[in-house]
């Protein structure tokens, strides 16, 4: 800390007061570091709960679709190991995508709704000596990091949990993995920020029912976008067009591009659209955050 006569003080009030002040830029940088450090500490405390929470959904998805269904002869994707494996190849990247989304919702939306709600912890957090938006951006960064961890935990599960003979044909395209996973995580954390700043804690049930459920079921987790073409009315591929409004579809298609060689939506579409979604969700989320914090 430095002891300084701030120029601001003398300019605006016509008198000098000695106060300890650090430049906003370095104070903000240090505050951001401390907020991240705090989240890391909390994550480390809850590491087992975090791991369990992250793993449980992918586990049950793989267990039901890739183990139980083939075992009882209800295999999705056509009878026999070949069809079942093709479905596994579609499903595993989808599970990674949906895990990233749930990470965004759980680590940001649920926590934030609570901190805005009865605990009012957010009031303390925004006293950090930095611009208010940085507090929200920090939440997005730490949520995105948790999303990356979640995505990394999914693949080992898919490798282990399946019926004999059913195999996802994974084929990692590293440069896509390294760029698209972080982008997807940031977009889904942005979604979490928007939801967390839009819903009161008592309306969380509504959020799950009316937003999360449609997004997950129409997000291309269990099917790939390219195969939706047959759903049509009078030659119009209505479902294929409708789901384009859903950010999760680009995440899941992106995961397919990253983890498999299965046909997927073109990367020239996925990258820019996902980036736009990330930008829009963040902008709306930050606006909401500011409105909720300031009055």
């Amino acid at each position: 800390m430095v002891l300084a006569n701030t120029p601001v003080a003398s300019d605006e009030l016509g008198q000098q007061i000695s106060v300890r002040l650090r430049p906003v830029l370095s104070a903000s940088y240090q505050a951001l570091g401390a907020l991240l450090l705090r989240d890391l500490k909390v994550l480390w405390k809850d590491k087992w709960i975090f791991a369990l929470r992250t793993v449980i959904q992918p586990f049950f998805l793989c267990f039901v679709f890739l183990y139980v269904f083939p075992k009882i002869g209800q295999g999705v994707g056509g009878r026999g190991p070949a069809g079942e494996s093709a479905f596994a190849t579609v499903l595993v990247p989808g599970v990674a995508g949906i895990s990233i989304m749930f990470q965004g919702v759980q680590s940001i939306a649920l926590n934030m709704a609570q901190e805005f709600g009865f605990t009012r912890e957010i009031e303390d957090r925004v006293q950090a000596p930095c611009p208010i938006w940085l507090v929200a951006v920090e939440k997005v960064l730490s949520g995105a990091a948790q999303g990356v961890i979640a995505a990394a935990l999914v693949l080992p599960i898919a490798a282990v949990v399946h019926a004999p003979g059913v195999h996802a044909n994974l084929d990692l395209h590293w440069w896509i993995v390294l760029t698209l996973v972080p982008l997807a995580c940031i977009a889904m954390s942005g979604l979490g920020l928007l939801l967390g700043t839009s819903f009161e804690p008592r309306n969380i049930g509504l959020m799950f029912g009316f937003i999360i459920l449609p997004i997950t079921f129409l997000g291309g987790t269990y099917y790939s976008w390219t195969t939706l073409a047959p759903v049509q009315v009078g030659g119009f591929h209505w479902l294929q067009v409708l789901v384009l409004l859903n950010p999760l579809i680009y995440v899941n298609e992106g995961m397919r591009a990253a983890f498999t060689s299965f046909p997927h939506m073109h990367l020239y579409v996925i990258y820019p659209v996902l980036a736009c979604f990330a930008g829009a969700l963040l902008a709306l989320g930050l606006r909401n955050f500011r409105r909720r914090v300031l009055s």
Binding site: M1, T6, V8, A9, S10, E12, L13, Q15, Q16, I17, V19, R20, L21, R22, V24, S26, A27, S28, Q30, A31, G33, A34, L35, L37, R38, K41, V42, K45, D46, T119, R120, E121, I122, E123, D124, V126, Q127, A128, P129, C130, P131, I132, V293, L294, S295
Partner: protein, 333 residues
């Protein structure tokens, strides 16, 4: 030359340290969007280094809003506010470095322990690892919370949580410590403990601005008090001067049935030494000087005019009396 400087000295305020205000507002006004009420109404306020300053007022007076503007949580509608010379609306991130805040609700980090709540606050304000650790340990001892260092904040009683919030707020040595209704909801013992804690901090040079609607708190703790109502400052002075300002050294409250306005006139004219008479709910309040025979005179006057006397009480003036004199209402709703 010598003589001249002596004159200059005399003209200066008693405490040279008070020359520059640490908090300064100019016509500060807040109207919440969608509200017709003016929550803070053209407020002009100066708080000086080293004092405990109290904003005293009933519910809805605008105390929290005023503190909220100074701590950058509320955006003023017009006017300006400075903390340490920084315009809080224009440079909120900078201003936040100067403030330590204890808000009306418990805002402790529920996912951290007592010690960690302090430690991470230090890091947040740019203190290093070693300095934050050392300060956290020292403050826990100073605030008698060291036994609870590893406990969850859920384990703390209301009074302990409040102490921890104060410890956290002064952790980064703020220029001003803001406390919003710091003892609301505390039991009497915890309240006294917090008062002496704040007095000690103030003795070490901490400037404090607190809001309260307990007149005892403002009276006991504060060097100067601003009495607020409807967003405006009605009076501002030391508690002693405020109490002295209303005229009279005794306050007599007469509770009676009947036409109270007539009773007020009767008492004002027929009782000796009345400086002010005011009709209040269910009775009349008199401010009297040297009221030795006042009881007898009041009883006689009431009897002469056939009022039913229900209750009669005599007290020294309090800040509550000052508030009633200024507004005709009681401080507590």
């Amino acid at each position: 030359m010598k003589q001249m400087s002596a004159t200059q000295l005399a003209a200066e305020p008693a405490m040279p340290a008070r020359a520059a205000p640490i908090i300064h507002t100019e016509e500060l006004t807040k109207v919440y969007p969608g509200s017709r009420l003016t929550a803070v109404d053209h407020l002009n306020l100066d708080v000086y280094v080293g004092e405990i300053f109290g904003l005293l007022g009933p519910n809805g007076a605008g105390k929290t809003t005023t503190a909220g503007i100074l701590t950058t949580r509320v955006v003023p509608s017009s006017g300006r506010a400075f903390v340490g010379g920084i315009d809080v609306a224009r440079h909120p991130a900078l201003a936040k470095q100067l403030s330590g805040i204890v808000s009306q609700q418990n805002t402790l980090d529920r996912q951290l322990t007592v010690w960690e709540n302090l430690y991470f606050h230090g890091r947040l304000f740019g203190m290093g690892r070693a300095a934050s650790k050392e300060t956290a340990d020292r403050l826990l001892t100073q605030f008698q919370l060291e036994k609870w260092a590893k406990a969850s904040v859920y384990a703390l009683s209301g009074g302990m949580a409040q102490r921890l919030m104060v410890a956290r707020a002064i952790f980064h040595r703020p220029a001003v410590l803001f406390l919003d209704e710091p003892t609301a909801g505390l039991d009497p013992q915890s309240r006294l403990a917090l008062w002496s804690l704040l007095e000690e901090l103030n003795k070490d040079g901490q400037t404090i601005l607190l809001t309260t609607h307990y007149m005892e708190e403002a009276d006991q703790l504060c060097d100067r008090v601003a009495i607020m109502d409807h967003g405006r400052i009605l009076a501002l002075d030391t508690p002693a001067s405020l109490k002295g300002s209303i005229g009279g050294d005794t306050v007599v409250t007469v509770r009676a049935a009947g036409d109270l306005e007539r009773l007020r006139q009767v008492l004002e004219t027929e009782v000796e030494g009345v400086r002010q008479a005011q009709a209040v709910e269910g009775g009349v309040r008199l401010q009297v000087t040297s009221g030795k025979k006042v009881m007898r005179e009041v009883v006689q006057a009431v009897g002469r005019h056939d009022f039913d006397l229900l209750d009669l009480s005599v007290a020294e003036p309090t800040l509550e009396t000052v508030f009633i004199t200024l507004t005709g209402r009681e401080l507590r709703d």
